[in-house]
């Protein structure tokens, strides 16, 4: 779990990502002028997806193979995986809050049902960070490029992404849906499935 602190020590990388987010939101704001609630709910997730992708690509690839060997001797693979997911989850949540804050300043905050929005969003971010972690492990063992990661990650993300769009539009009261909590359950179900699978698969990948 010390991993978390290690990652946060690389302050300039984190700062770079936040600047990137700022520029993205500002660009979107200037390009659109006014943003309605529907566009708002799409934009926050698209921005989060692409900035998150950018941020997490770094998390596994930055480190040299020497560091990996050091980790390998030091800790259990599961521990490393869980700490990676937690780190990515925290990072994405911070990014998400940052995006929401910026959007609030520039265009406002259309969400009416805050509890639904936050519960669904946290579940979705957990799923996104799990998938990103998994894919970054695959492309890291692949000496991979960023393109490899986007190709692999984006189709896998899509179910969660669509569910998130739906819950966000519901929480902004654009559409009403009485069974929206089924969707929230589905998001968490997908999360637990993905993380369980990763814990099962990771030790195999890690050895190489």
């Amino acid at each position: 779990m010390k991993d978390l602190a290690v990652e946060f020590r690389q302050k300039y990388a984190i700062a770079g990502i936040f600047l990137f987010v700022f520029v993205m939101v500002f660009l979107v704001f200037k390009a659109y002028g006014t943003i309605n609630a529907r566009e708002w709910s799409i934009l926050i997730w698209v921005i989060l997806l692409f900035t998150g992708l950018n941020a997490i690509i770094k998390s596994f690839m930055q480190e040299s193979s020497g560091t990996y060997l050091y980790y390998y001797t030091l800790i259990e693979p599961i521990e490393l995986l869980v700490s990676k997911i937690i780190y990515n989850f925290v990072l994405l949540t911070l990014l998400f809050l940052f995006i929401i804050g910026l959007m609030f300043v520039f265009v406002g905050f259309p969400v009416k049902d805050l509890s639904l929005f936050s519960i669904a969003s946290l579940g979705g971010i957990l799923g996104i960070s799990a998938i990103f972690t998994f894919v970054s492990i695959i492309s890291a063992t692949d000496k991979g490029s960023g393109t490899m990661m986007s190709i692999l990650a984006l189709p896998l993300i899509l179910p969660i992404f669509l569910l998130l769009l739906k819950t966000t539009t519901v929480s902004a009261r654009l559409i009403s849906d009485t069974s929206v909590y089924d969707d929230v359950m589905l998001i968490y179900g997908l999360d637990s499935m993905l993380i369980g699978l990763m814990i099962f698969l990771f030790p195999n990948l890690w050895r190489s």
Partner: protein
């Protein structure tokens, strides 16, 4: 090593069975005619008390050839009238005359009436909601002119015929190819995932080749499934690709598996390639289940089997369709396994030649003779 006795196709029985079954499905599925149906009515509305002469255009019908054409308008199980004059113009056109009684048995307006036409060649043709009768005079007590007996003495359809469905017409035959392709794709993907798990458990490199080969054939099947689905969609929905959740999710699923191919192609290190692609294929297979089965079901979809639409079973898959549908699934799975085995052998020979030519190549882990 290769003497006369060894030069024969291995497992010839199931391969031949696959080919024969597929040939049977291909020929039978294309040749068996559809049942008769109604394509057009000259009028679809009437008022109570009217005398109605409807020209009905049929499909695959034998009105002129048949000696005993009869027709009924039916409102519910206890109320129907028989046509007093039936005149066949030619094989596909017939004029039916009805005298609709003044008194309707219900208070509703309009009343939907089902049209039934029966003759000894085509059997009974049922067209639900054919005529909408505007209810002008409501007199529920005097329903004497509606006959109350149940309709029963219909002729049976002769021979094997596929059911006639209004929006499907002849494309109902696509059931044997489109639907069966997806079934077979799942079977092959399952084989791929099974060998991926076997690879991760044992580290046997031949398992990786097997997993990849079956997955590749499954991707081919999936692509063909999308293609046959698009053709079907053009006929029934009017467009090759309606913006429908089921279709889009299927496209995403295929994207996921194309990414699998790219992942396999991106590295030449056997060990890493095998590990990453085995993990990814298990991951992708589990991601496929919500994509194809859960999300389309909780949203509205045009596609059968989703959003309240019925899928297999019920009226749509009757016994004549089953006669070809199940063999088609079996045939396509067998052919897919065969294709997969050919790929496995091709890959194995390629790897062996490569490792023979380049001695300094990474040694293949745990290779046994895969053929």
């Amino acid at each position: 090593m290769m003497n006369e006795q060894n030069i024969r196709v291995k497992g010839i029985y199931w391969k031949a069975a696959g080919c024969l079954l597929f040939l049977y499905v291909l020929i039978g599925g294309m040749i068996v005619p559809l049942k008769s149906g109604v394509t057009q009515l000259s009028t679809t509305s009437a008022s109570s008390g009217d005398t109605l002469a409807i020209t009905v255009t049929g499909y695959n019908t034998h009105f002129a050839e048949a000696k005993n054409n009869r027709a009924w308008l039916k409102i519910d199980s206890a109320h129907h009238i028989q046509s007093y004059n039936v005149k066949a113009i030619d094989e596909n056109d017939i004029v039916l005359s009805f005298a609709i009684p003044n008194a309707m048995p219900t208070n509703e307006t309009p009343v939907a009436a089902t049209l039934l036409i029966d003759n000894e060649i085509d059997g009974v043709i049922v067209q639900p909601n054919a005529i909408f009768i505007t209810n002008t005079r409501t007199d529920t007590t005097a329903s004497a002119t509606w006959m109350a007996s149940a309709l029963g003495d219909f002729n049976k359809v002769q021979g094997i015929k596929f059911p006639y469905r209004n929006i499907l017409n002849e494309t109902i035959r696509n059931t044997f190819f489109h639907v069966a392709l997806w079934f077979a794709m799942f079977a092959l993907l399952f084989a791929g995932v099974y060998y991926a798990i076997q690879y991760l458990r044992t580290g046997d490199y031949t398992m990786d080749i097997k997993s990849a080969s079956y997955t590749k054939v499954a991707i081919l099947y999936g692509m063909m499934g999308l293609l046959t689905g698009a053709i079907w969609g053009k006929f029934t929905w009017g467009t090759y690709w309606p913006n429908d959740i089921k279709l889009n999710m299927a496209a995403v699923a295929m994207m996921m598996y194309v990414a699998y191919l790219i992942l396999r192609g991106s590295t030449t290190d056997y060990d890493k390639r095998a590990k990453t692609s085995a993990s990814y294929s298990i991951f992708a297979f589990l991601a496929l289940i919500p994509l194809l089965f859960i999300i389309p079901r909780i949203n509205d979809s045009l596609h059968p089997g989703n959003g309240g639409n019925p899928a297999l079973g019920g009226e749509d898959l009757d016994h004549t369709l089953r006669l070809f549908f199940y063999p088609s699934i079996i045939a396509q799975i067998l052919l897919g396994l065969w294709m997969g085995q050919l790929l496995i052998r091709y890959e194995a020979i390629k790897e062996r030649l490569l490792s023979k030519n380049k001695i300094n190549q990474t040694p293949i882990v745990g290779q046994s003779n895969p053929i």
